[in-house]
Subunit: 314 residues, 3 copies
């Protein structure tokens, strides 16, 4: 593995899940692997779980960690080639990335989509720019259309909960006060397809995910029926595809409730808007897996860091 930018970088996803769960049983088993090496974590956006779990994973491996809030700590970065840089952005990534690659042995990068243009966000301009310029392994800490550390942790949680049985999974759209990126549902769905999971998607009309991604997957709009027949429901809000990035009224009828879930487990990547995305009663019940999903973030990150440290490229 050269980089960890999307689920496609997981050559053997089943094995990755098993190994990550094994790491969880003894997190310090490879505590010397990263000694004398540095992980740089770059945040263009806020972060709690990713910031802390990735740093913790790195420390478990003996890596030094340097975190940087781009802009607040350092300089605003320019991404466009050929620009006359006479405005607010002080540094071009054509300098910043090679420089960072000299200070870090591994680079983690969080940069959400701008939600201004679907085409632009699908291009993953920040991630691709870093990839083109970096000679060090990159770890995607959530980009416009991918959150692969989350998806690996999600798969670990499903494995822990259901073992060898194959649950019926629904990925359900949920309401939210703000338009949100499609990174989490995209990576989760890609992971589930890769694993051959039994999954369906439900969302209101206009919220279609990428057509290539949902090919071969049943997509429905009758949430109550979908949830009632599921063993586990992964809820997530994402913005409209048709009216990409626009603020639309909250569709309260899509809020997840215990009544809709019946016996199904509940998953969400967090942070979650209580009583908008999902009712308190769900999160406070024994059917909620959200805290364990967050716990598994440490070990999905640790597995990724280990693989990158071990790979010949480093």
């Amino acid at each position: 593995m050269k980089h960890y930018l999307s689920i496609d970088d997981l050559k053997q996803p089943h094995s990755a899940i098993e190994q990550a769960l094994q790491l969880k049983t003894n997190p310090l088993q490879n505590s010397g692997l990263g000694k004398g090496k540095t992980l740089i974590l770059l945040f263009f956006n806020n972060s709690l779980r990713t910031r802390l779990s990735t740093a913790k994973a790195a420390q478990n491996l003996g890596l030094d960690v340097l975190s940087l809030n781009v802009g607040a700590d350092s300089w605003q970065l320019e991404f466009t080639d050929g620009t006359i840089m006479d405005q607010g952005k002080a540094e071009h990534i054509r300098e910043a990335v090679p420089v960072l690659c000299q200070y870090g042995d591994l680079i983690g990068l969080r940069s959400f989509g701008e939600l201004q243009s679907l085409e632009e966000d699908l291009r993953e301009p920040v991630l691709e720019a870093f990839k083109a310029l970096s000679d060090k392994p990159l770890i995607n800490l959530e980009s416009a259309f991918a959150h692969p550390l989350q998806a690996l942790a999600d798969a670990m949680t499903l494995q822990e909960t259901f073992g060898s049985t194959k649950p019926k999974i629904t990925l359900s759209w949920a309401p939210h006060p703000r338009p949100l990126p499609q990174a989490v549902p995209t990576s989760f769905l890609r992971m589930m397809k890769t694993l051959g999971a039994d999954i369906q998607v439900c969302h209101p009309p206009g919220y279609e995910l990428n057509a290539a991604l949902t090919e071969g997957i049943e997509v429905r709009s009758d949430q109550a029926a979908c949830l009632a027949e599921s063993d586990v429901v992964y809820a997530k809000s994402w913005c409209s595809t048709e009216q990409y990035g626009q603020h639309l009224p909250i569709e309260e009828s899509w809020t997840i409730s215990l009544e809709k879930l019946k016996e199904a487990y509940f998953m969400h990547c967090l942070p979650v808007r209580r009583n908008v995305v999902v009712q308190d009663a769900v999160l406070d019940s024994s059917k909620s897996l959200v805290i364990e999903q967050a716990n598994n973030r440490t070990y999905s990150a640790q597995w990724v860091l280990q693989e990158l440290l071990k790979s010949k490229e480093l």
Copy 2:
């Protein structure tokens, strides 16, 4: 000791002071105690001494430290149960705290009072919410009504300065351009009572501290007379209790001066407003203990971390 939230968590305060002072003689004596464990420091408010001294104490014990400015680094947190989270706050502490407890072995927390309502601040809503949800030891890095790391460092400083003799102490209110919380005077007074110190309090009318706290302690309003008879004066501004949290004119006559202090030592928790709280001449004299108080913050924190690491609960 399960948590360190207030002076009440100090079961043997005299012994704590002695042990913390012994740590100061050789800070690296237990440098392997925290190996492989992580301290998370959460800041809802600014910090210099607490941020650095607590991190330094942790490093002396071999702990990894992850610091987070809540809001700026991560998400705004919602504390109210049952809220429909359709406004600015993205994450509820009912998720955040259990998640943090998975990443950290110990959690430090700074959250000042809002100064909007005395009753609300006395409830310690942030501290209590964390306590109710945390299964890891919590360290109070200053809450609405307690700053117990400071009070332990203050007691250490008194012990170093006066040894076995029993000084006459005055806790004196002092002026300030802004209304300030009552955390420092409350914890200092609680500590002094616990130690059986010879202490009196002086403040202008309307600035009464908690009645249960000052029970059995002489409370006066004649500052000059109080200071003149003291061996040591602990100065601190706090907001009015009668007009809680309100901005009132600066009472310049209460500024501490060398003339008022006569031979007494001077203490303050810092940061201090020069020539408002206290005159330059006091801080620049050999009678000022403020720098040593700050120094002792490292060892009061280190003692607390050690106790929590050693306790069976961890």
Copy 3:
């Protein structure tokens, strides 16, 4: 070496360059030297290279690093003696510096000039205030008129590029959308003079650097002719000295181009405004040394930290 505040603190600059380049061949050769000691990095201004390379250098030596954004993380600092502190600044450096010196074994400090008054900035008020109050070694991470870590890295880069031959160097002013400090050109020129380099300076009228500094150095205003006869060109924008700190129109004719450079190498401290300071074609060519200059920041910092750790004063 007691502090590293300017090039004047380098008693044997040739030896420093050789030793720093030797460190680069095996950065972990002294990985135990800083064990149990702490480097505090204080930032009054943004930073990417300095923040990361200095932290990396410290980690190579086994130092613990605590970084603080002054103001955002802690409190606004007051520098003026005798002030009645009833405004926005909560802490005076007369407390802050002695306190920091108790928590850190070494203190790094970045504080740009205010660009309001040439006389005031030449006084280096922040650096001098810290120096007067600090009993720990200080490292200048860029002050109003000095950036000596950069200048040492620059000298290393010249040594790597030209070996024992003596290149003809031009320090050329360059345009920029904002008025910038004179720290980098000042330290670079001081370093080059100390090394006995063959250097000339070119800038438009009104941008004269300190007269004592340029004494004995040819100062010209015909950029094209200067560049054409150079082996290496160090470009940097700095604000007018005559109209100190004022925003003036961008002088596009001074932008560095491949045509002007002919065969000369190109240096800049970064961040650089592409197509304002210098054209893309220069930075993207094999003649650009800017990425290696940034790389050498780690080893110039590591050499400085080592010297300070080894000095008797610590």
